[in-house]
Amino acid sequence: MNLSRRHFLATGAAGVAALATGLPARAQTAPVFAPTPDKWRHFEVKTKLALAEVKGGAQAWIPLPSFADEAWMRPGETTFSSASGKVERVRDARSGAEMLRVRWGEGEASPQIEVTSRFATRDRKGAIATTLSDADRKLYTAATELLPTDGIVRDTALKITAGANGDEDKARRIFEWIVDNTFRDPKTRGCGVGDIAAMLRTGNLSGKCADLNALFVGLARASGLPARDIYGIRVAPSAFGYKSLGANSETVTKAQHCRAEVFITGAGWLAVDPADVRKVVLEEPPGNLAVQDAKVAAARAGLFGGWEGNWLAYNSAHDVALPGAKGARLPFLMYPQAETASGGRLDCLDPDTFRYSITARAIEA
């Protein structure tokens, strides 16, 4: 592991143990994955854009931490540094997702901006007690462009949840079904797209977080449970020694990750991440673990109802129309976006050509 001092301080006791031994925490004993909502952790995420070969002007949209929940996620200050361009903070009206929009004029051949955001987060375990307004219940059970709640999605959801005893049992059955029937495909570009009806119709239940967790959300919504994807980025190693479940260097340009929440009536929002269980199966050393492996079992138990606070939640937006954009709506907003007058929408999954980089570090409160 390559931890800075700030990471070192932030990883807590488990991280100290891992560094002291040179081995993942508790590697000698049964694996443990037990997020516990105690200490808040503070981070700074820096996104640098340096667009290449721009002719005729350009604009960019950089997602900002805008998901807030007093129990586990507190967005902080955002600052930026740019030699040129008009910068404004804009918001997706429907979801509340915030982003920094930058517009550069025709004369700017090499637009650049550096955006720094701070936030605090912590582990989750158990439902976060809250109520849901009628409007929010409607929003979080609604279909989106890629998450229909009728047809094959509804048929599948009803089969999975038939005979379930209450909301939590429904949610657990969907979670277990995702873990048992999908798998992570390392060749999927980025985090996947999340076309869940196509996944079910073709029988191709592979992908990454934006596919597998979107499948959870779609199936939950189709069975009447409010649910939402939360799009973000990993910012720190796992304190439980899971190499596959953390950002293992300060460079997190390709560490985007989305998680999910499901609302249990009478209890509140419950954290789930079945996609990360499949990531442990595929990637946790030595790799290609059996589902019965103790490391997988521990993660599987912990990721229904909990997750680690080593991740930034940007937003829970679907079908995002970037303000002022010429290009198509986005299924979700997790990557920096840009358009140039000469070349249209840039490829957000190709940061080296687009030219952006993202770094994250733990900071003092």
Partner: protein
């Protein structure tokens, strides 16, 4: 480890895998996934959708993903990340050359990808036919495409298209004969006028 299903197609977004298919079949008796031909192309007649909106084209004027009047039209949906699509694009270039001088139009439609990615791909792999940019997937939806590649062959004036999901061998003699039969439809139609 993902095991490509005969290396034939790239459904949804990531490549189709045998394991995914088996999972869907075994899990809770879900609706069976679409069957795919192992050898000869398996065309399914489908209705030609109402005229979709024109799409930007990599080179040239905006064009809708729809049949061209008086032509046998091949509308081919693909994505640059789809490995079997890449091989097939090269084969389609051969078909395009073989059809030179005949009333044949090939429209390749890239769906769900940003323009910069598609442009970059074709800078390195130039093709002789138009590439339509269906970034919003509107044309993909209009044609009910759920897997890449998917192709539609449409005879002149036909209300139905022949849909083929998965990879096809466009150099295959039987397939060329099939396309040629659509020209005959064209001739017959012209003779009747």
């Amino acid at each position: 480890m993902a095991i490509p299903l005969r290396g034939r197609s790239c459904p949804a977004i990531p490549p189709l895998t045998r394991r995914g298919v088996l999972a869907a079949i075994s899990a809770l008796a879900l609706p069976a996934p679409l069957a795919r031909a192992a050898s000869s192309p398996d065309f399914v007649p489908v209705a030609v959708p109402a005229a979709p909106q024109p799409l930007p084209v990599l080179v040239g004027a905006s064009t809708a993903a729809q049949p061209v009047a008086g032509q046998v039209t091949l509308i081919h949906f693909f994505a640059t990340w789809c490995a079997s699509c890449q091989a097939e694009l090269a084969a389609l270039a051969g078909l395009h050359a073989a059809m030179a001088g005949r009333p044949f139009t090939l429209l390749a439609v890239d769906s769900g990808e940003p323009e910069a990615r598609v442009r970059r791909y074709f800078e390195h792999h130039p093709m002789p036919f138009p590439v339509l940019l269906d970034e919003s997937r509107a044309a993909m939806k209009a044609w009910d495409v759920i897997t890449f590649p998917t192709s539609f062959l449409v005879a002149p004036g036909a209300a139905e298209a022949l849909k083929l999901e998965g990879e096809a061998n466009w150099a295959d003699a039987a397939l060329k004969t099939r396309i040629a039969s659509l020209f005959k439809t064209n001739t017959a139609s012209n003779n009747q006028q």
